[in-house]
């Protein structure tokens, strides 16, 4: 009985090793895919929501008006910081790259703005949009830029990446399933002939079962000690 179990194990060893290696490799790939997926998720959460809003001011707004507007905006829960950028400052920051044309252009060409830095990740794109809509109705505001196009594109990209990672993970899972079931079927098919022959020559049920139980116990034990 032990002799038969030993023979069976030796017979199956190649197939077993192959399937174990394949499954390990596949699981490794899937772990990688899931890691990418997880990181992509974090990135979408980090970058997917708008972090910056620029409020363009209409010409002719007084300094007092602008300052009270700035304070009102800073008081919004979504806003971490509101900073007034005068036309001159805007010209300076835009010409910081060394562009002489910009540096010498008349200051009226550059709009005064209030730069809003938003509370990171606490703000959804929808809420920012509604804030922008409300701010735009204020008479001294000419335009509100939420950089929506950019964040939307980024978000779309990352969501796409996440979906691809999900598909990969699913594919790997299917492959693992196919390999395992195929290995089991193959070794079972080989053993079925053995069982058929044993039954044919008058083996009792316990005689047929015995080696399989021993083999199972040995494989299980080997698996546990390996881990």
């Amino acid at each position: 009985m032990f002799e038969r179990a030993r023979k069976g194990l030796r017979q199956q060893l190649g197939t077993q090793m192959m399937s174990v290696a394949t499954v390990a490799l596949a699981l490794f790939c899937m772990a990688g895919a899931l890691l990418v997926l997880e990181n992509a998720g974090a990135m979408v959460r980090r970058w997917g929501a708008p972090v910056k809003v620029t409020v363009f001011l209409a010409e002719g707004a007084t300094v007092d008006q602008v300052d009270s507007l700035r304070r009102a905006l800073a008081a919004l829960p979504e806003v971490e910081e509101a900073r007034y950028v005068s036309a001159a400052e805007a010209r300076q920051s835009l010409s910081a790259g060394g562009d002489r044309t910009v540096a010498t252009a008349p200051v009226e060409l550059f709009p005064a703005t209030i730069e809003l830095r938003l509370v990171p990740s606490a703000v959804s794109a929808e809420r920012v949009a509604s804030v922008a809509l409300r701010v735009r109705r204020i008479p001294m505001v000419s335009e509100v830029e939420t950089y929506r196009g950019f964040t939307e594109r980024l978000r779309g990209l990352l969501v796409g990446g996440r979906a691809a990672a999900g598909v990969i993970a699913l594919g790997v899972l299917l492959c693992v399933f196919a390999v395992v079931s195929n290995t089991v079927r193959m070794s079972l098919a080989a053993r079925l002939r053995e069982i058929e022959v044993l039954r044919l020559v008058g083996a009792t049920r316990s005689y047929i079962r015995g080696p399989f139980l021993i083999e199972g116990a040995m494989l299980g034990g080997a698996g546990r000690s390996w881990r």
Binding site: A190, R193, V197, L198, L200, V201, G202, A203, T204, Y207
Partner: protein, 264 residues
């Protein structure tokens, strides 16, 4: 469970306790009484087969394919169970055998198939020895008896070869060795030449005849007309679910046989 029985006397010990029925030795080896087997209600395969086979007989079972030859043999080694009627093996009704007794019945019946049914990754020796190992015989006895069986089928000294590399004819010899190594009372052969070319088929038939000359009852199912013509023996034709007998062999049947197997 296993008994070290090396004698030539047939001792039917179907029961796990190896109970020996001395009266069984004087009864016909096989009696089929009104045996019915129905897989599909609209087309019963066997509908009332009556057949008596004496110890030491060689019987051909024939009929067109699908007539129920294989089914008849399966009923005898209890791969299938009769729906009605009785099958007496040495006087004992095998329909009444319990699950536990079936292996003990099988040890008294050698079976040979068209498709060999060998374990391809076992050696010749292992494929033959398995029939004795299940009986729990000691390895020394197994070695000598397998050697004798291999010699009888013309494969002496080839025990270490893997069966998967043997030719069809050689593989069939291995299965015959496996069937006779236990010295069973009966050998059932289900189209054993079906996968072999005509010359090999005649060789294999000759082997079964030798086995029969040693006193073993042989039931040989085939629809190969040539074999029936070469060997004028008792012929049982399954036709329309019943058995038609022709003790004088092929010639004695004439029209019935033509009707029965010329379809093939």
């Amino acid at each position: 469970m296993g008994r070290s029985r090396v004698s030539n006397n047939f001792r039917p010990h179907f029961r796990p306790d190896g109970h020996f029925d001395s009266a069984a030795a004087h009864k016909p080896i096989l009696v089929l009484e009104n045996v019915m087997k129905v897989f599909r209600a609209d087309a019963p395969v066997l509908r009332g087969v009556d057949l008596t086979i004496e110890r030491g007989e060689f019987v051909f079972v024939t009929g067109p394919s699908g007539a129920g030859k294989s089914t008849l043999l399966k009923l005898i080694y209890k791969a299938e169970t009769v729906d009605e009627g009785r099958i007496l093996f040495c006087g004992r009704d095998i329909a009444r055998l319990t699950e536990d007794s079936v292996p003990h019945l099988r040890r008294n019946i050698g079976v040979v198939f068209q498709d060999f049914r060998l374990v391809p990754y076992w050696t010749v020796f292992e494929n033959v020895a398995v029939a004795l190992q299940v009986m729990g015989l000691p390895p020394r006895v197994i070695r000598s008896r397998v050697a004798v069986a291999l010699e009888r089928v013309g494969l002496d000294g080839r025990g270490d070869e893997k069966v998967s590399v043997l030719s069809g004819g050689e593989q069939q010899r291995v299965t015959i060795a496996r069937a006779i190594v236990t010295e069973p009372a009966v050998v059932l052969a289900d189209e054993p030449t079906g996968n072999l070319d005509p010359v090999l088929a005649l060789d294999i038939l000759g082997l079964f005849e030798e086995i029969n000359e040693g006193g073993t009852t042989v039931i040989f199912a085939t629809h190969d007309r040539t074999l029936l013509e070469v060997s004028p023996r008792r012929l049982v034709v399954i036709d329309d679910g019943r058995c038609i007998e022709a003790r004088a062999g092929l010639a004695g049947l004439g029209g019935v046989l033509d009707h029965g197997i010329s379809i093939n």
